[in-house]
């Protein structure tokens, strides 16, 4: 609809520095810094290292998943079942825990369940060619539904103390285990997307899946791998979240899919696929964490925060479009 003919071609490219300064990521960084300053002025408790370390839990688990979902969205697919994968992984770990399994087994089971869920999504989308949005709406019900069947209105509690390390442990001083996992995930996904053949394939598929296939990319296999990665990251997030909460309820991580998609879109990843960067997602995650932490310090209830997240999601996409409409 917004195709315009006779697009103007500039005489020369802008310098890399100008482009970097004008980029979405730079804008995110500026906004994050502004919110950081606003928060530290608004509340005397904000600039405490321990408080900031606590606040990182607001985004670390979601951001881990967001990296994988970002790749998925760049390739033109979506996964709305991530919150439910967490619920199912957590439930499987809870079952194993009641059967007397130790921490290593719990971790393995959490990862395996995540991978299995991802493989299931991937199989339906990549192998059978079903639209990912409906498939993952279906599995969103199915995975969490299984948790409800197992748990009903009950809960698993009493995880071993050593299991608490993932969600409650510190590597040194205020740096939490989750923050380290977040950092590693960011680097791994950043390299994967921006420095490998696989990453180029993801962009190619998102821009034109048919052309990608004709240029020799195994589109289905790449998409399957991306769903697998999303499942794996959801499994890791499930381990962290379960460990942090110390309990499993079937409603665990409800609404995560919304926040994950919001982080990805806020990070400048096009919801239509084909463009986006990991650094943008990292900045968006930190920005979301700062916003929710700041609001929390001001005693804003959770549901009001979710309104703000919803507004943010729409505004982030609407404003650039309004801007380009106004300039035309």
């Amino acid at each position: 609809m917004t195709e315009h003919l006779g697009r103007q071609i500039p005489d020369r490219l802008t310098s890399p520095l100008t482009r970097a300064l004008k980029s979405w990521e730079a804008l995110l960084l500026v906004v994050a810094v502004l919110i950081f300053i606003a928060n530290s002025l608004a509340s005397p408790y904000f600039l405490d290292p321990w408080n900031l370390s606590d606040a990182s839990f607001n985004f670390t688990e979601k951001a881990m998943i967001a990296f994988a979902v970002a790749l998925l969205i760049i390739s033109g697919e979506i996964d709305l079942s991530v919150g439910s994968i967490i619920a199912l992984s957590s439930t499987v770990m809870g079952l194993a825990m009641t059967a007397g399994a130790g921490t290593p087994v719990l971790v393995l089971l959490g990862l395996a369940t995540g991978l299995a869920c991802g493989a299931f999504n991937g199989l339906l989308v990549a192998r059978f060619g079903l639209p990912s949005i409906v498939v993952t709406i279906g599995t969103m019900s199915l995975f969490r539904g299984i948790s409800y069947i197992v748990l009903g209105d009950g809960a698993f509690t009493g995880y071993p103390a050593s299991f608490g390390w993932f969600g409650q442990g510190y590597v040194f001083w205020v740096i939490t285990v989750e923050l380290v996992i977040f950092g590693f995930a960011a680097i791994i996904f950043g390299v994967l997307l921006h420095r490998t053949n696989f990453g180029r394939m993801v962009y190619a598929i998102g821009n034109n899946a048919v052309a990608a296939r004709f240029s020799g990319i195994r589109v289905e296999r790449v998409k399957f791998t991306l769903f697998l990665l999303t499942g794996l990251m959801s499994g890791i997030a499930a381990i962290c979240l379960t460990s942090r909460l110390g309990s499993t309820r079937p409603s665990i991580a409800a609404g995560f899919e919304l926040e994950v998609v919001t982080i990805v879109v806020l990070g400048g990843v096009s919801i239509l696929g084909g463009s986006g960067s990991i650094i943008g997602v990292v900045l968006a995650a930190i920005l979301m964490g700062l916003v929710t932490f700041g609001l929390g310090l001001m005693n804003v209830p959770g549901i009001v925060m979710s309104i703000i997240v919803g507004l943010l999601l729409i505004a982030v996409i609407a404003l650039p479009r309004l801007w380009s409409m106004a300039r035309r």
Binding site: I137, G138, S141, G152, D153, I303, S306, I307, G310, I314
Partner: protein, 323 residues
């Protein structure tokens, strides 16, 4: 032979089979009186599924319908608390629902934002607004006037008003979708947006109309829901949007747009409604319902995809094999 025709027949057969299965152990379930109850209980799902159907026909999706329902229901309850007469309340919730749908529609139409993003956002905004409005308070049965609660339950000719509203809307939709220019436009826009533009149909405006219709129905259902269950709070109908999408998918509404029928949509909703009502009768925990509707979505979509695989794909597949 038309594939579409056979698909509805298969769904009808599946429903009859399901009923027969339940009746074999619990004959009481298939008495006319009980089936009437099941239909009444499924009415909200039917109403929302029909609204969702026209949205999906135009290649969009509306995940905000349940939140819209909850917000309109709460406003209906608040208005009743203020002593406003029922006809005014009814008109207001329909108008408000339509307005909330129009917000979705405008964002999709004028800004070209993908509907899934818009409605994921408005879903939380609408539901959060209930909290802003009430501070999380509940409105219970004793705070509602008798007339407000009685209207959907009033029995006319053996069925409550709620069921009659559903029947009227089904009839209205059958006419709208099959006999009006707008109805054809829904199919045209979803079937081939470019061709629709060349025939003089505005894609965005048609999508906007679909969102307004879906919103208005959600608003109306909001009142019916709150009045029937005689309670209003932030989380009513939480997650109901998934059931609504499930009903459409099971009913054979293609998620890629442009194909689906009113009959299929209604049967999809009834299929879920029968399962939901049968679970406690058969003695299965209601906690199974979520997993069952999830599986139903997956089975239905796999089935639909098999029925209408686009020829373009097959050519590509062949090309792939040759290399």
């Amino acid at each position: 032979m038309s594939i579409l025709k056979s698909r509805e027949a298969i769904l009808a057969l599946a429903i009859l089979l399901l009923l027969a299965l339940i009746a074999s152990r619990f004959p009481g379930f298939v008495t006319p009186a009980n089936l009437g109850k099941v239909f009444t209980d499924t009415s909200p799902l039917i109403l929302l599924a029909l609204g969702q159907m026209v949205v999906i026909l135009t290649k969009c999706i509306d995940l905000s319908v349940a939140a819209n329902l909850a917000l309109c229901g709460m406003i209906a309850a608040l208005m009743d608390g203020a002593g406003i007469p029922l006809p005014v309340i009814l008109l207001t919730v329909i108008a408000l629902g339509a307005a909330l749908g129009a917000i979705n529609g405008l964002l999709v139409w004028l800004l070209g934002i993908p509907s899934i993003v818009v409605t994921l956002g408005t879903m939380t905004i609408y539901r959060g607004s209930i909290f802003l409005l009430t501070d999380g308070a509940w409105i219970n049965a004793h705070q509602m006037s008798a007339g407000f609660k009685a209207f959907p339950r009033t029995v006319i000719a053996g069925l409550p008003v709620m069921a009659w509203i559903a029947i009227a809307v089904i009839a209205g939709f059958a006419v709208l979708v099959n006999r009006t220019a707008l109805g054809r436009a829904f199919y045209a826009v979803g079937g081939n947006p470019h061709a629709a533009v060349y025939t003089g149909i505005s894609v965005g405006r048609t999508q906007f109309a679909a969102f307004v219709i879906a919103g208005a129905l959600a608003g109306l259902t909001g009142y019916l829901w709150v009045a029937r269950y005689a309670v209003a709070y932030v989380d009513i109908a939480g997650g109901f949007e998934l059931d609504v999408v499930a009903a459409c998918v099971i009913g054979g509404i293609a998620i890629a747009g442009g194909s689906g029928t009113v009959a299929g949509c209604v049967m999809g909703a009834l299929f879920l409604g029968i399962i939901k009502n049968a679970l406690p009768v058969v003695g299965i925990s209601p906690f199974w319902q979520m997993a069952i509707s999830g599986s139903a979505i997956l089975i239905a979509i796999a089935f639909n995809a098999r029925a209408n695989r686009a020829p373009g794909r097959i050519i590509l597949k062949r090309a792939e094999h040759r290399t």
